[in-house]
Point group: D2
Chain length 472, copies 4
């Protein structure tokens, strides 16, 4: 229900499928990653056994074919486009829609043609030295088609590839130049390379499906491809799959700083990343909240979908029964005509209606994953009261948002973050709750089930792993 | 997850809105009823204060304007069509798609023009004397445009209206002729009439919204219209709202026989119908299952969405913790390209993936609302085991399906119902479960929280309230 | 370029195809009739050899399946819907869009179910006794779904069919009741009936295609079905095709009054109707204009498309060379965003641009089929002058419009017809022409190549063949 | 009716509009150029007075906003996208669809971001040194996103611009590198540059509209923008429009070699390019044909649309009357379901039906612009005979196609060109004509109205202006 924070991308890839259907498996993988990006999507394939019917199959050995467009996976691909994407290796990408830049040109994968051939790049993350790199490259004569940083990665990879013995070597050089968080899949006509930034800010997992090697932002995509998780790509690691098998290069890693917000909100609960079950960490967040912010109440509930797991953990720890208090209307989509100003109350009820009989006369503990501006949760608290709840105690399974993310998460700037300008009691009063408790930032290791800090919590603490100081 | 059983319709209506936006409120109501029918939908309005811009506004005082088409509410209506439907009173309808009859002509409301004016009918339910009525009427010269029974109701209403003092009188006569289950909304240029069959087989509630009187199949629609529930229409009752206020005619009721399956599966959990909270009844079903079919296990879970409430009740009663074991992918829609035969396993996983960390090494109790053919639940049991569950105990929050419904529910014929041909142990083995327990048919009153039998459970017992003997 | 006058419908039908593809042939026929109606279209089939996959195939022997919707033929039918319409006999319909009534419910064919079975009706034309018939039928208990007169025909046909020995007998009775212009195709499960009104106001031709018997509003549709024209249905004739072969009933005809405006504008030039080539009659109109309104000039041209044939005739007769003076942009369609008020001039030029080099410094004779309001032709005259024409002499291949049509042509009411309120010199000055000549109403027989008056020219003379006096 | 030969692009641009609606004018221009490319289209704007609502408006002074997609102009742009393209200068592009490369990424204009800013390029034409340039640039480190040569031009322009004093200087350098035919529009934030290749192979005209300076591939687009033609861009000329007014650089021109096929087929008849009216040249082609290939006949007709003008010229010269012999169905579009193999005959008739009454019993001379494979014209000849023509004499208003075009016209390779493998008598027999005459290649200057050879006729003669020897 966070509503205002978005992951910006998801990637999936496969190498070594015996059949020409690699695109089809990536298609299923992208469905499982759709929550990570709904603006545009695309699939690039290579290793086409070849009938020339593909949408874009350039001449010679530059065999990378790509189809991408604005829209959801289910809209962009139909059986015709999918069957035109023939090949035994493929990468795919889903991208999130930020306003102002919703143009087809920013869709990925990005294909690059250069002196030694071609490659396609799918990128999840954000660079922190974009403008300095861009300036430097442009001064050297680089020409870009877009203003997105993924093009810089694609450019550098192709440029170094044209000067290097191997694409792996090129990728190593690229990693020496770019800073920030990234999970990359690089498809070459003869190989697939998976790369994770030195801090491990962005997740990237490896698995096996249909006898082939697969990669994805989350393990749930591997399962959607019919496969199973093998391991995580390590921070700073470059994994290559080719006819020679799987090989790995380990570049100098930084302090392991996986994104804690993946566990709090972004990732699907059925994913396991860096050895930690997303579902389990959310349950633990709920348990910790129960210990840190106990309150006498009749029921515990969660805001669907992202608040429910923490509610289950809270209920378990506190012994207060978990109750489903809301029905979410899954039919409300893009074509929904919003009510006029005086019908706003209805709009909320249409999307998310409380179950009166579950909350009437009850003291309610309600969990959610985070508070950004406070408007949505305020509406939900009001609805619960209108439905008969006598008390509403809000518990947030993350610490207060105080700092922007510079690694590819769309956290609003400070002036829009309620916690930047208001104390917790103020927020409690603004959202109309009887009490408000955030997860203690010190308990994040407990939430993840770790005893040290191997994660990035810069959005809560301002402690950016690469010592980057954002301007915003 | 039942997948094979569908409600066939939902209705919503409003009378007495001061503004011309009645259609807009009904639109929100239909969104809340979309689960009751996804084939087609429509809205008819009257009381147009009049600018002649409506899609269909026939001459003179025959002022009923209607827009309907194949598709979901969000697709059929856009701001242009909606703003063309001007008027202070309106009825709307959502219809379910059965194969072979998915044509625009069957969409409702059905408008009828006759000697005394015009009216529009929205109907949820099914008549049991369709063919005899149809024959009789055709013998008398009636001509029909469709083969759906709603047209018979529309025809009879208009015919009697042309012979009667009032439409209410006509409706009373219609009720004397038709048998079966029905909830009707009849919109006349100057009034709105709500009718429920003498057995109360189909739900119909009345409420207040924006100073106007509203009706709907479920109370959740009233809430979506920004209103609140007042009461249920009684079996055999005819409620009229007009400039003269609200009046009621009580025709001879039958044995009160509300549909028990509305509580088990059809209705939205946030609805309250005939004084019973759907959510509460599902929780009670879970509790009863725990008492009737206890088993030693580590966790209780439910198949999303319809099996979750019973799981919560089972957990509460048994003391075994409730766990969320599945992630449902809400992006998988109509455009999803199904995998080829050898990728079937993936298709299931893409739509519904188990959370391994939640079930691994666990003895699992899994609830669902019903078993029709057994295929889907068999797949889910297999997935749970593959995800590491050591035992899977299936609990069904309804008795076994044994008989077709003749009141508007799309229960397959007996030869497709697994329980018609197999004993419970056989089914248990076919779906691969360690144990299987159905809700005892005798405990249905307990589930509803009533001490007598005031409901229809013919699909489980063959005890049809109007002594109807179906052929199928 | 007339722009303001529209035919309202076109019909096509086939009986006796050996294969199940009757719908496919009718589909091609409707493409050839698309100029007669662009609002909605539909096809009904019978004689399904039967696999139950059709969109609407009711039970038993009531085997009529229908698919219809708003839109052009190419949009309404795709290969899936078309292949679902299986059967060896079929009728189809295209309907024109009038504002205010553009709803799917008015699409044809209209299917009717009645005591003796079912039938489908496709109707081109307009009744002049609609309201009296409607009142009478409603008083007898008839209930209608729409306000279009085609439903009255469908209703009467079904009603009489239920009381008659045969549908042919029923159709004969219907003809005794309805007045006005009509071409009807009635599809029964076992036969196809083609009917033309007693005055022959609406065209209807019969032909042969693929071994089957076909009917259509125009012969061009028969050619599009791959067939050839046999003859016209005679005024008042009922032709039946069934397993027993082709039979004909001749009811009492009126004065033969085929619509002269079909030849002037509506029909496709490659059609031959009632023995008269549309193309030839337009060439003759041009020749007559040259004789009636000669003028010294350098070139003759016509407004595309409907004015070109008369220009060719004028050129031939006058000896002044024909020149193509305009390019019409066929890409300008429904999605074209019209320029704002101050860009109006461009809008005309985008759709129809003069060829300067063809007209520069020339005295131009320009033919068009008719003038309704005078706005469009005024714009075109201005464009010609701006392109360098030194004189523009307008010649209209029809007499001035003075009276509304009550037989199914959308002529605006008198207050919108420029000729009702202005003399020819006034009109000439209003449209900015150097001279203006209309075809003499007395020469219409010459235009048709007949020596008597066997046609309806009521829109020019007010002489309505059935002595009907329109109100408008 | 040529069917197999396509122009590949069209361009339009505007500089200096007082309002922000430059995109709107370019939109109308593109409608007029739609015949030059139907695959994709796009518009880029600059000089946004600025509200940040544009689809893609990158930061800072890099103010170029672009919207492009697959589809026709009417489909790609709606009022929302168009109103998002704010600015007083703009360029637009339409692109033709060749199979295999129909991807959004190839749509133009191509935007480039580089060290000194940004620019957008719209290109009509084809380079002959693409692979050598591409190799050289890639060896120097260039990275491309597509395999189309327009990207090479965009790349070079941006690269030289980053090293030059001005974009004009950069363009001059680009012209020194690229070979082949091109008409370019280069939009910079502060200027618009129009460039034509040294041979003048591709047309490019300049005009005035709404007080602004406009450029377009054809003059018809200037008229659609509401403006008027000023002059042609000269071979090798670079015209710049900026705040400083209009300036021109004349680079070294080659032998003037405008494409003769623009006059024969590509261009719209209402266009005037390089001082020659397209319509007039087609009329002259007809006259020349009449002199070169006279035959005794009753009527002259032309295959719509492209064969009609030559027919008028032939008729004029020969004194044999011109007759319209075909009706083209403008409703047959992309969604048309093609008949099955055994219904092929119908498919042709649906698109193009002969007017029997015009040709029956007649000896027909039929003109068309060219013959590529001969299949289509063979079908048309057969149709004419079936419609009653006693003789069919085919006259082609161009010489036989013998060589591929390497400047941007999609002439099939030699093995598909009927004239490469068959003598004229053989072709005559293959298409079933009574006689066949092509325009004499020596009379092309007469057709154009010139006394020397200032045009490219390489597709007929193999005489490539830049001495290029194509491989194909």
């Amino acid at each position: 229900m966070t509503g205002n924070i978005h992951e910006e991308c998801g990637v999936a890839g496969i190498y070594g499928l015996k059949s020409d259907n690699a695109a089809s498996l990536v298609y299923y993988g992208l469905f499982a990653l759709q929550h990570r990006g709904q603006e545009s999507c695309g699939i690039a394939v290579a290793g086409n056994s070849g009938d020339g019917q593909s949408p874009e199959s350039p001449e010679g050995d530059r065999q990378i074919t790509c189809w991408k467009a604005m829209g959801h996976v289910g809209d962009v691909f139909d059986s015709k486009t999918l069957s035109g994407l023939k090949g035994g290796r493929a990468i795919g990408h889903v991208r999130y829609s930020t306003t102002g830049n919703s143009v087809a040109e920013n869709a990925q994968p990005l294909v690059a043609y250069f002196s030694k051939g071609s490659l396609a790049v799918a990128h999840n993350g954000n660079l922190t030295n974009t403008s300095e790199l861009r300036k430097e490259l442009e001064d050297e004569g680089a020409i870009f088609r877009t203003t997105v940083d993924s093009e810089i990665i694609s450019y550098l990879t192709a440029r170094y590839a044209s000067e290097s013995e191997s694409v792996e070597e090129a990728v190593t050089k690229v990693m020496g130049r770019i800073r920030g968080g990234y999970a990359l899949l690089v498809l070459c006509p003869d190989r697939l390379i998976a790369v994770r930034d030195p801090y491990g800010l962005k997740p990237l997992v490896m698995g096996e499906a249909g006898g082939a090697t697969v990669f994805a932002s989350e393990s749930c995509a591997i399962e959607a491809m019919g496969g199973s998780l093998i391991r995580d790509i390590k921070p700073g690691e470059i994994v290559t799959v080719s006819a020679d098998g799987i090989s790995s290069i380990q570049t100098e890693p930084g302090r392991f700083s996986k994104c804690v917000f993946e566990y709090i909100y972004f990732a699907r609960p059925d994913s396991v990343m860096d050895g930690i079950s997303v579902y389990e960490s959310r349950i633990r967040a709920g348990r910790l909240l129960a210990r840190q912010h106990p309150v006498e109440a009749d029921i515990v509930t969660g805001v669907p979908e992202s608040g429910i797991d923490a509610a289950l953990g809270y209920a378990e720890e506190s012994g207060i029964p978990y109750v489903k208090a809301f029905v979410k209307n899954s039919y409300v989509g893009r074509t929904f005509i919003k009510p006029s100003q005086d019908q706003r109350e209805q709009a909320v009820k249409i999307k998310l209606n409380p179950i009166s009989s579950a909350v009437k006369g009850k003291r309610v503990i309600m969990t959610d994953d985070s508070i950004v501006r406070g408007t949505t949760i305020g509406n939900i608290v009001r609805m619960l009261r209108a439905a008969g709840a006598t008390e509403v105690h809000v518990r947030i399974s993350s610490p207060p948002f105080l700092h922007p993310c510079c690694y590819g998460t769309d956290v609003p700037s400070c002036d829009l973050l309620i916690a930047c300008h208001h104390s917790i009691p103020e927020i409690c009063s603004m959202i109309g709750a009887d009490s408000l408790g955030y997860l203690d930032v010190k308990s994040l290791p407990d939430m993840l089930g770790e005893d040290g800090k191997y994660f990035c919590d810069a959005c809560f603490t301002g402690d950016y792993p690469d010592s980057f100081v954002p301007e915003g």
